[in-house]
Amino acid sequence: MRYAAVSRILGIFLILHSFGLIPPLLISLDVGDGQYMDFIIPFCITLGIGSLIWLVFRKARHELRRREGFLIVAAFWLVLSAFSALPLMFGGHLDFVDAFFEATSAFTTTGSTVMSGLDHTAKSVRFYRSELQWLGGRGLIVLAVAVLPLLGVGGMQLVRAETPGPFKDEKLTPRIAHSAQHFWVIYIGLTLACIIGYVLSGMPLFDAVAHSFSTLSTGGFSTHDASIGYYHSLPIEIVTEIFMFLGAFNFSIHFLVFRRLNFGYYVRNPEILAFSLIVAASVLLVAVVLYFEQTYASFFTALRNSAFTTISVITSTGYTTENFSVWPVMIPAFLMFISFVGGCSGSTAGGMKVIRVMLLFKQGYRELLQLIHPAMVRPVKIAGRPISTAATMGIWGFFAWYVAVFVIAMLLLMLGGMDQVTAFSAVTTCINNMGPGLGKVAVNFQQIDDYQKIILSLCMLIGRLEVFTLLVLLSPGFWKN
């Protein structure tokens, strides 16, 4: 392990991350909410520690290999989440566990919150929460589009071929830096478009900026306790739906579309197609059940609420307009289940990713056919390309670990005294990086204890790191030379 090189990069991350505190600091000074010290101190701490680490290790410019890749990815999320908690401790008056939970939730673009009374919280703090999600989303795109496929996490090597450019397993850095620039341009472009959309549909500028941050990152933090439901505005809901949906697309496809100005790439991408179908079917199903259970008087209202909630859940955003945990019969559980599907690979969304679910289905169906025709040899294909055994095995392994982590986390929460429905939904929402749950965590996560918050913070990180990254770090073989 080249610890020095890893530390150097971590130092750079911290330095860069500290600059993220400047916008909320400026806002604080502008509106004069008196919270500026709450950002200056964390800024100094983060910058100071980052610079110190960097200065010590600045000469360690080694090439990074796979192992360092795993360590950096894990450290990126864990360390930056921890440092991001500082302003919330000072400015949001949270204790460390709460602040860490909130920061992790923000940075992993989950959107579960322990804060309430948001409408009366200082503007700078509210902005900071949304900005953290945006930064998390930005890191995530690079992670999901460039890093995880290179590392081959959970069968994701199969999207590797999609990303353009040459590549060599041993040299991670140049390619990542190269792709990062492209994807950030698109990310920023989409965010700007989202801000404009919000402003045009009547949102105040501050809210528009904050919400666009958590929409594109499919995070789901809001500047209001009532989330998007605060506005009671159909245009705002539609803008949100569109950009949550776009945020859950593979950013390399966005890249292709913008570069060649050809929207055909969206339609030709099997994952996006499958995703759109799943979303449409789920929206319709929820709307029909809501209508027949007479939760809403008109089918249009049912459809409106179903569309918003379902898209918000499946893209793992977690905005709400209505409290869906009290919706009738199986809808709450159904929404929890579809959050496992999540968005497309290479997006800011959470969950297991559509491509994996597609492959699980294709592979499962193939197994059925194999039973009838035992001698049949038919590889599973996506868009006409056969999928390698290594990739399918990777996806099966991913699925099994995902389920295993889910079950263990759920039992640990119940051990801490949580009821089954709450525990089920809390783990679901955190591991899928979605946000709201059911039962006691339907509105916020204030009612649970520190032990449970720590487990859930870990779930968010595990989900964000696609399970394997963390498992690799925990395996003894990783640390052996």
Binding site: R66, R67, F70, L151, G152, V153, D169, V289, V329, M330, P332, A333, F334, F337, L360, Q363, G364, Y365, R366, E367, L368, L369, Q370, L371, I372, H373, P374, T389, A390, T392, M393, G394, W396, G397, F398, F399, A400, W401, V403, A404, V407, M410, L411, L412, M414, L415, G417, Q420, V421, A423, F424, L438, F468, L471, V472, S475, G477, F478
Partner: protein
């Protein structure tokens, strides 16, 4: 599809099945409980239907192919389930509706052990006996199915066992081997049952209860002749101990018993990785349960905590479903832990349900290999089981099984919630049905009388799908199954 051959076999199965009503009629005579006529009618209806099916095609003897195999396996459980429901409908007591009778009968035959009945203690003895015997017959069917038929069909990676079972084999010739294997397994099954019945009797049950419970124990079924299940005997710990021993034995692969029988040697039990994993899992779950029960003062005496902890863990983890104390009322994570443990279930080739320990073991091995592969992407690690390498197609079959299991579980759970069940009840009812376990939590903890007919039908389907190892039922929904 060779429908006439299938019809012939189905007819034969029904004829054979009709004779299983005779012991129940004998019980009715002994206890003069007035259900003789009802049982006789069930006998006659089943026998005549069987003969009507069998006689026209009795000379159609052709080799069976895999597709016919699927068809027969599915028909075995559905048809016998339907005819097995007759006594429940015709009897004066309990005189169930069609849905309830079918639920009870399928629950019996699939060795699930969920019941819609209450006031079981006061039911006629012959009906009680009949219920228990249904489980026993179902268990016998499963052993043959799991060891002789499933490996041939290669369901969910079970072609693994094809090589294990002795004798020559050719993919397309099912019949001769099945009869040979079945006979041997039948002797083992019978011996275990007799041993179990004697064990219960010595431990203090009366003869009727001892026989009845031995049926439900060896078949990993879990029906009881008392509302309180084995809790009826809480004053007698030796009965729980007998139950624990025979649940563990019946949850083991019968092929192992077979070899032990042949070679008069117990050593190879412990050379089998599945059996070892099975014991380790049972031990871990029991240990967690005992420690929690005692440390949280849920059960005050240490020996009581140990006994109840082990009994309940073994009962649920092997998917038997006997209960002594309402484990559904245990606090915190225990009910959920036990429910989850039933997903792993017993060993392949046993009468137990769940996904089977061997699949769980393979998934752990494969999952670990994937983590190693992350670190060394170019490494070639062959998975091995008991020193033998595992082909990739077996592993993908196991994965296919697993994901289909989870998907089916989620869909059934949602459908049950559609009928108005709360999430915990729906979760546990689905798990209890698909894993062929029996009792659930919350509103389905004691029995299933309180749920709607729609929910019962969904659960009937779930029990069947679990018993048929999922894929053999799902395969019938693919168009190419029906194509020539």
């Amino acid at each position: 599809m060779q429908f006439s051959v299938i019809q012939r076999i189905l007819g034969l199965m029904l004829v054979a099945f009709s004779f299983t009503t005779l012991p129940a009629m004998l019980v009715s005579l002994i206890y003069t409980d007035g259900e003789l006529i009802a049982l006789f009618h069930s006998f006659a209806i089943t026998l005549i239907t069987g003969l009507v099916l069998w006689l026209p095609v009795k000379n159609r003897r052709r080799e069976l192919r895999p597709r016919d195999g699927f068809m027969i396996v599915v028909l075995f459980w559905t048809t016998l389930g339907i005819f097995g429901a007759l006594p429940f409908i015709l009897a004066h007591e309990p005189h169930l509706s069609l849905t309830n009778a079918l639920f009870e009968s399928i629950s019996g035959l699939t060795t699930t052990g969920s019941t819609v009945l209450s006031g079981i203690d006061s039911l006629p003895k012959s009906i009680l006996y009949y219920r228990q015997q249904l489980q026993w017959l179902g268990g016998m069917g499963i052993v043959v199915l799991a060891l002789a038929i499933m490996p041939m069909l290669g369901i969910g990676g079970m072609q693994l066992y094809r090589a294990e079972t002795p004798g020559p084999m050719k993919d397309t010739r099912l019949t001769p081997r099945i009869t040979e294997t079945a006979k041997a397994l039948w002797y083992i099954y019978l011996t275990l049952t007799i041993a179990c019945a004697i064990g219960y009797w010595v431990a203090g049950m009366n003869v009727f209860d001892a026989i009845a419970h031995s049926y439900a124990t060896v078949s990993i079924g879990g029906f009881s002749t008392h509302d309180a299940s084995l809790g009826f005997y809480t004053h007698n710990p030796s009965i729980e101990i007998v139950a624990i021993i025979f649940m563990i034995l019946s949850g083991a692969n019968f092929a192992l018993h077979f070899t032990a029988w042949r070679r008069r040697n117990l050593a190879h039990y412990f050379a089998d990785s599945e059996f070892k994993t099975y014991l380790v899992l049972l031990f871990v779950i029991s240990a967690i349960t005992c420690v929690y029960l005692y440390s949280q003062h849920i059960v005050t005496h240490l020996n009581q905590a140990v006994l109840h902890g082990i009994f309940q863990s073994v009962s649920i983890a092997t998917t038997t479903g006997f209960t002594t104390r309402g484990y559904h009322t245990w606090p915190s994570f225990l009910p959920a832990l036990l429910m989850f443990s039933s997903f792993v279930g017993a060993c392949a080739g046993s009468t137990g349900g769940g996904m089977k320990t061997i699949r769980f073991l393979l998934m752990i091995k494969q999952g670990t290999r994937e983590v190693v592969r992350m670190i060394h992407p170019n490494s070639v690690v062959t998975l091995k089981l008991d020193g033998k390498p595992l082909p990739d197609h077996v592993i993908s079959a196991v994965w296919g099984f697993f994901s289909a299991y989870i998907a089916t579980f989620s869909i059934i759970l949602l459908l049950l919630m559609m009928t108005g069940l709360d999430q915990v009840s729906a979760f546990s009812a689905t798990a209890a049905a698909i894993n062929n376990l029996g009792p659930g939590l919350n509103s389905v903890a004691a029995n299933y009388a309180g749920i709607t007919d729609g929910a019962k039908w969904i659960l009937i389907f779930a029990m069947l799908i679990g018993r048929l190892e999922l894929l053999s039922l799902l395969v019938m929904f693919t168009p190419s199954f029906w194509r020539r």
